[in-house]
């Protein structure tokens, strides 16, 4: 499948401030790879606004990012969103099991 730009809805969990991405079924994942893809920005923004209104207890500051999606892989278009998705690129003393320091992603 050729690469195509899509949009996803992202936010923070209120409990711990961790980044989260909205799945297609409306639940929230801590992995960008699980995110539901929107074919147009307007639909994603409408979902983010709906989330802000209806899920404000669990979810904080929802917004929309643009991604490159190909063969099931989702790549954000900015360094900021890549680092949000994969965690600090430097040593964290006691990382979460799924968040070991990554090599430089440049």
């Amino acid at each position: 499948m050729p690469a195509a730009n899509r949009w996803v809805v992202t936010a923070r969990f209120t409990d711990d401030g961790a980044n989260t991405w909205r799945r297609a079924d409306g639940t929230w994942s801590r992995q960008l790879a699980d995110a539901g893809l929107y074919p147009d920005e307007a639909a994603a923004k409408a979902q983010a606004a709906d989330t802000a209104a209806k899920e404000q207890r669990e979810i904080t500051d929802p917004y929309v990012i643009e991604v490159h999606a190909v063969d099931g892989t989702i790549d954000p278009l900015t360094a900021r969103e890549r680092i949000r998705a994969s965690g600090p690129t430097v040593r964290v003393r006691r990382p979460d099991p799924d968040r070991a320091p990554k090599a430089d992603r440049g």
Binding site: R12, G17, R57, A79, I83, R84, P88, V92, R93
Partner: protein, 563 residues
């Protein structure tokens, strides 16, 4: 050091209790993030790139060993095993869960600590010379005045909603400014007038960020008794006339520039004459009462240790010698030395300290330095009162903890903001560059040959890494979502204050440390003698030779894009 009285204890305990209720209401959905945000910021709780971040206030950077142990316990119990030393002499935790924060504040209160006014548009933590109280070049200890200002500014109702945040620093050493007072909203220098009386030179409108300014003197001599009333008048003029329509134009430096320093001074003096009342006067007895908390520890009567220091520096143990030469500083009491404990080990983010290191440094401080530890704005520790004869044993213990690098004020002693690895505002990462610099230049002979030079890195224009005042400054910028960096040369935070100049086009991440190396090479080629420091060479020869060094070669030039 200062001990809380009943009033201090009550307000801090009550604030923690209030915040517990606010957190409970946020977690239950009773209040929204929009409603909660100003409440959490008043308690030092930010939302950063990956998690909440809690910034703990450490007035003038001074800690007792019991407080350091508490910080270790919090890192271990509620965070990921480390804390981060900040450029305002504070410590911050990068991973607290919201539900745990009220308990953390309760724990801090048990050791007379809190997170109040570490965020928001209020008077922030008052900072000071990290060698306060022990520096031979000091006229007077600035910490009693920092403490008086802290008490006056904490929960001050008139200044709880300033146009923007407000930072004050105090130094008591006229000859060398180690507190960067010229880059604060208010800088205070303890000086002596022609009659031999002590008072303050008052500077306003200094700062970094997107509009860097060197503070301007608005009063050459302020008698001590008027400290609070005069500072209050400065803040009142700022509060009344500072811009609130644009946060990028809201700092006092913008107001001072817009009015001109003469008009700003006139308004302050006018307010001062009209508003100062006896309640705000500082009688000598009150100054003496607060100063008593900072009385010198029970030093032993020792012989001067200069010969001993020289012996260690030139002795057979080269590791000890290098460390003594670079990290041991003069002390005003014979037989004692001040030690800079480097928190800049290769492979570890600058300023990050683990819970075990914190526990160990607390024990070390008790054994060697009367149980006191100071956090520096350069993201290191200082042990202020070490017997010179203890230096070899202390060095061995610090090396075992990975805190013994002999690099104070050297190329690898880099000030680094958290950058895009942690910060929600950042454009680019700072820490990986700092780690690369630490690795590239980790050769003691090279560091010693290059001499004192400061590198300061900020991941965005907010300048938490003080890049404007680095002899070499690095600023991260965003270009179409990718990380690029500008290189600046010629900044200095001290008495010879200057703001660095951008050298040329922005550089890609993989080019920036090469560029730093070329700048250093050009300095080594250009200096008149080994005694001419980097900053002196830059000022003498100008930027052109360094531009040639960085951009005159194909590899860097090819990667550069327009700034």
């Amino acid at each position: 050091m200062y001990q809380y009285d009943d009033y201090d204890r009550r307000i801090i305990t009550e604030r923690a209790r209030q915040f517990r209720g606010q957190v409970a209401r946020r977690l239950s959905g009773e209040i929204t993030e929009e409603e909660f945000k100003p409440l959490r910021l008043q308690n030092g709780l930010y939302m950063q790139l990956h998690a909440y971040m809690l910034r703990v206030a450490i007035p003038y950077g001074l800690l007792g060993s019991n407080q350091v142990r508490k910080l270790a316990h919090i890192a271990r119990t509620y965070d990921k095993g480390y804390g981060h030393l900040t450029t305002r002499q504070n410590i911050q935790y990068n991973w607290p869960k919201l539900a745990d924060v009220p308990t953390i504040l309760d724990e801090l209160a048990t050791v007379e600590m809190h997170a109040v006014q570490t965020s928001g548009n209020c008077v922030r933590n008052i900072s000071a010379d990290h060698f306060a109280g022990i520096a031979p070049d000091e006229l007077e200890d600035p910490r009693p005045y920092c403490e008086i200002l802290r008490q006056w500014s904490t929960f001050h109702p008139e200044f709880a909603n300033l146009p923007r945040k407000f930072k004050i620093a105090v130094t008591g050493a006229p000859g060398e400014d180690r507190a960067a007072v010229r880059f604060h909203d208010i800088g205070l220098r303890i000086v002596e007038n022609a009659r031999g009386e002590r008072g303050f030179e008052v500077l306003v409108g200094g700062g970094l960020g997107r509009t860097p300014e060197i503070g301007r003197v608005i009063r050459e001599f302020l008698p001590k008794r008027h400290l609070l009333s005069y500072v209050e008048s400065i803040l009142r003029v700022y509060n009344l006339f500072g811009r609130r329509d644009n946060k990028f134009k809201a700092r006092i430096k913008i107001l001072v520039t817009a009015l001109g320093v003469e008009e700003f001074r006139r308004r302050v003096e006018e307010d001062w004459e009209a508003s100062r009342t006896p309640e705000l006067e500082l009688p000598d007895e009150e100054i003496a009462r607060v100063a008593a908390f900072f009385a010198p520890p029970p030093y032993e009567a020792l012989q001067a240790g200069n010969t001993q220091v020289a012996g260690f520096a030139l002795g057979r143990d080269r590791e000890l010698g290098n460390w003594v030469r670079n990290n041991v500083m003069a002390h005003k009491v014979p037989g004692y030395s001040a030690v800079v404990v480097s928190v800049k080990a290769p492979g570890t983010p600058p300023g990050d300290v683990s819970d075990t290191q914190l526990d160990a440094i607390a024990a070390i401080a008790e054994r060697y330095s009367f149980g006191r530890i100071v956090i520096t704005h350069t993201q290191n520790f200082v042990l202020s009162d070490v017997k010179t004869s203890d230096l070899p044993r202390l060095h061995a213990e610090l090396v075992a903890l990975d805190l013994g690098k002999p690099n104070a004020n050297k190329l690898t002693d880099v000030i680094t903001c958290p950058g895009l690895d942690y910060c929600d505002l950042a454009n680019a990462r700072s820490i990986p560059l700092s780690l690369e610099i630490a690795e590239r230049f980790d050769r003691i002979d090279y560091l010693d040959d290059v001499g004192d030079v400061s590198i300061k890195i900020s991941g965005c224009i907010n300048a938490c890494g003080h890049h404007h005042v680095g002899n070499i400054g690095i600023l991260g910028i965003d270009k179409r979502g990718e990380e690029w960096y500008q290189l600046l040369l010629g900044g200095s935070p001290g008495n010879d204050a200057s703001i660095g100049t951008i050298l040329g086009a922005a550089l890609a991440q993989h080019e920036i440390v090469d560029a730093v190396e070329r700048v250093i090479e050009r300095y080594l080629e250009s200096r008149e003698s080994a005694e001419e420091r980097f900053i002196e060479t830059v000022r003498r020869v100008g930027l052109e030779p360094f531009k040639q060094a960085v951009y005159g070669r194909p590899r860097v030039a090819a990667a550069a894009v327009g700034a």
